[in-house]
Symmetry: C2
Subunit: 332 residues, 2 copies
């Protein structure tokens, strides 16, 4: 496959294109943004940042689970909902505090499996579900989970603060396997002990406290390049990625790897002075980490290898979420 | 209709019986309650109470909207989701800070109406939506909203702390109308100015600060008697209600009135010394309020009028949520 084909496949990947719908929500809520408000304005970030008046801020996020994943396996949907919510808080440098869930199920069995998947996530990550609703008699299955976390105000890792010249760091758990219900899910948690997982996700709290990074985001449905694209779009910067530096498992196709949603995975940016220490901290926590590129002036996210260089996104004409630093209040 | 018939109709009302499913969730999450945790244990309450280490605690709640209401009117579902979430925080004496939503819609029009209803709620109550997801291409409509609020730790109004001898106070906005999509919805907000509404819902923050009440809960789908029943069940007490003291509109059937879910409405309990002041504070905020009964030893919620006395719930054999103070961690 040529670089051009690879870029086109990433750009048209459903994990990327489904992010576009965020723009519509923003436009509606923008018009009614309250005249007062405790939200430290954050745009298209993993979690919203709520000022509560002291040194700490509250992080607040919500994630739903795609219907097809839920129908394929209610257990995995329940479990996965915990993982993605934990990641939303971890990506911002925060400590997860508690979750609430709203579930709908079309059978008692689906309902029980879904709840048991959620409960397994609670057991693994040690973050409680403290409330919620179940609608056990719907014609469909759906699951929404919201999470809160806490972090020092001056330590928050945002995704709209990357600066030209920053190095791009990828970090993820390579000890995983393609999940049972999607070729684009990379399960790194379900078969591991809680103590191992907590070390993995606590690492971002250490990075936040040490103020090693300028921006960051957890790798979600858009995959590594798509997630970096979202970070660039909201930060109003470009970037270039050296594909040969992207750590990859030997037994997964590279295009597929660039699209996976890992159980634990981040794209962070840092000044050149801190990038090495950041990579080291990730490695000590058991993740694979490497500098894979650099943030640049402009609006283009390029990737290159020895065969050439290609633009994946040009935010002067493309958009992933459509959210840039001045236009919205919606986290995703 | 005889008192016995009225009691049976309240007990078998869907708004009451649907609360039973909470018990199953609790039993699953109980088994995996983390060994550590920042949740101040709260049982079947309107919102969970999360300790963040200082004088303040974070309130955290979630509510879904019944499918049939959503299909009947996506706008009302979106708007109503804001109202019920605001009420969850208000009932605990808290200040609402922010909401997140997860919505699924089966058509672009349903999606837009739903979002516009949410946005109108934001405009009315001045609490921002700071994040969320939309799935615009599902086969069904669904909406989940989560909310956070803040309150001083020693001012939280819980629902599991009513004591025998406390008086039962009802407070609600009588300036309303039966909602367009359900005979059991009492709309008191959609046609009023934001300034009026904010006065209505800020009143519970004043009552919390003055520590006037021993327990409280917002009146939701189970109606006035059913909501008091949930408060009695989780507080492990009984109560008796003098039906002739229950304020009612002249133009709504009394059985229907006892089942309505008001836009703004609370059942609070207070020692006899404070009950009068509490009623006065509610009245000054524009709500109708009255002492309607008393909390008693035992497990029976009775109601009476001049024709006799009848037991609606006997928690030694009945249950609404099945949650009592020692058995769960799930708010509802």
């Amino acid at each position: 496959m040529s670089l051009e084909e690879l870029a086109e496949r990433i750009k048209s990947f459903e994990g990327v294109t489904r992010k576009k719908q965020i723009e519509d929500i923003v436009s509606i809520f923008e018009a009614v943004r309250p005249e007062y408000g405790d939200a430290i304005v954050d745009f298209g970030d993993d979690a919203a940042v709520i000022d509560i008046g002291g040194d700490d801020v509250i992080l607040f996020a919500a994630d739903g689970i795609w219907g097809r994943l839920l129908d394929a396996s209610p257990w995995w949907a329940g479990y996965g909902a915990v993982v993605v919510n934990i990641n939303d808080i971890a990506a911002m440098g925060g400590k997860p505090l508690a979750m609430v869930d709203i579930a709908s199920a079309n059978s008692p069995q689906a309902c029980r499996e879904l709840m048991e998947g959620l409960a397994e996530g609670v057991r693994k990550f040690g973050v409680p579900v403290v409330g919620g609703h179940v609608h056990p008699d719907t014609r469909y299955n759906s699951l929404s989970v919201a999470i809160i976390g806490i972090v020092k105000k001056d330590c928050v890792i945002r995704s709209d603060t990357a600066k030209p010249g920053d190095l791009v760091i990828a970090a993820y758990d390579m000890d995983g396997k393609i999940g049972p219900n999607s070729p684009y899910s990379w399960d790194t948690t379900s078969f591991k002990e809680p103590s191992v997982l907590r070390k993995n996700y606590l690492v971002t709290q250490e990075i936040a406290k040490k103020k090693l990074v300028s921006a960051g985001k957890d790798i979600s449905n858009p995959g590594i390049i798509g997630t970096l694209g979202m970070l660039c779009e909201t930060s109003r910067v470009g970037a270039s990625v050296d594909l040969e530096k992207v750590p990859r498992p030997v037994d997964v196709d590279f295009e597929q790897w660039l699209k996976v949603h890992p159980g634990t995975g981040y794209v962070f940016t840092a000044g050149s002075k801190n990038a090495e220490e950041c990579v080291d901290v990730f490695k000590k926590a058991g993740l694979t980490s490497a500098v894979i590129g650099i943030i640049e002036e402009g609006s283009k996210l390029d990737m290159y290898d020895k065969t050439g260089r290609v633009t994946v996104f040009d935010f002067s004409k493309d958009s992933i979420t459509g959210i840039v630093s001045e236009t919205g209040i919606v986290s995703e």
